[in-house]
């Protein structure tokens, strides 16, 4: 698994997934941009075939003003091969839902709960999708850009 050359890996992935996968790089990372529907399949390939066993970070960014969607970012690392890669996918603002990657990386449990709590994105087939940082009866998703902080009047009881 760890003998894979990174360029070979990218070529194979592109061949396997075809147009469903867009690969680009900047000076820090290689990004795999895919559709929400293909996320789970890509995750399984990356973990099982290429050894990316450490989901370091799962988060979301609100780009509703720029392109009307949330971008969900997965930073992956391979502990045995000491490699890194990033998966990105976008969900539309009017229907923010995506498959949970908990079956592939169980660490997604709380990380997805946090994204649900603060951004309002629903993760399908998550074992326990409830709020984690805000009170259970809280209304609203505070990290969204349209949630403006109004200072002292913000904290409702």
């Amino acid at each position: 698994m760890s003998e894979y050359d990174p360029q070979d890996m990218l070529q194979e992935l592109q061949q396997q997934m075809g147009e469903k996968l867009v690969i680009y790089q900047d000076r820090f990372f290689t990004f795999l941009h895919t559709n929400p529907g293909d996320l789970l399949a890509l995750s399984r390939i990356l973990r099982d075939k290429y050894g990316f066993n450490h989901l370091a970070d799962l988060t979301a960014v609100d780009y509703i003003d720029s392109h009307g969607s949330f971008e969900i970012v997965y930073h992956l690392y391979s502990i045995p091969a000491n490699r890194k890669i990033v998966i990105k996918t976008r969900v539309p603002a009017n229907k923010p839902e995506i498959d949970s990657v908990f079956p592939v990386w169980p660490t997604a449990d709380w990380q997805e709960r946090e994204v649900y709590d603060l951004m309002g994105i629903t993760f399908k087939n998550h074992p326990n999708l409830v709020r984690i940082l805000m009170p259970d009866d809280y209304v609203g998703h505070p990290l969204r850009k349209d949630f403006t902080m109004r200072g002292r009047e913000n904290v409702t009881n």
């Binding site: 805000m134 009170p135 505070p142 902080m149 200072g151 002292r152 913000n154 904290v155 009881n157």
Partner: protein, 159 residues
Amino acid sequence: MAVNNHDEEILAKNNIIVTTFEKLWNWGRSRSFWPLSYGCNCCPIEMMASGAARFDIARYGYEVFRAASRQADVLVVAGPITAKMKPAVERVWAQMAEPKWVVAMGNCAVSGGPFVDGYSVLPGADTIFHVDVYIPGCPVRPEAPFQGLLELKKKVEKQ
């Protein structure tokens, strides 16, 4: 029959102290506060440091940090009160027996601190309690709770 000062001095020379019940009561209470060990954040670490060997809050008689709210009489609010924590603190406060006092320790408890414009930190402990003493600082130095508790002592003595 009231005792005037001259008589008090004569009695004192003979090892007899004349006082009121309230004064005795307040003298005892003010010199042995039992703080409730509450705090979640940076300020309680400095509160722990004030209870440890170098600063030693035991010199003043306040080292008995009790975890059970029934046994404590001072609620030292060290750190911010968040939206989720608010019901828990209110409940603990309700469980404490009279007489009880509140000391707001740290900028977050005094006014919300650096997080006041966020969506989850209350702008100060005085939104839910009547605070007796405010100790500013971010985080407070361990000497600051000493001064705060001594101010509280002065306040309680006068009650």
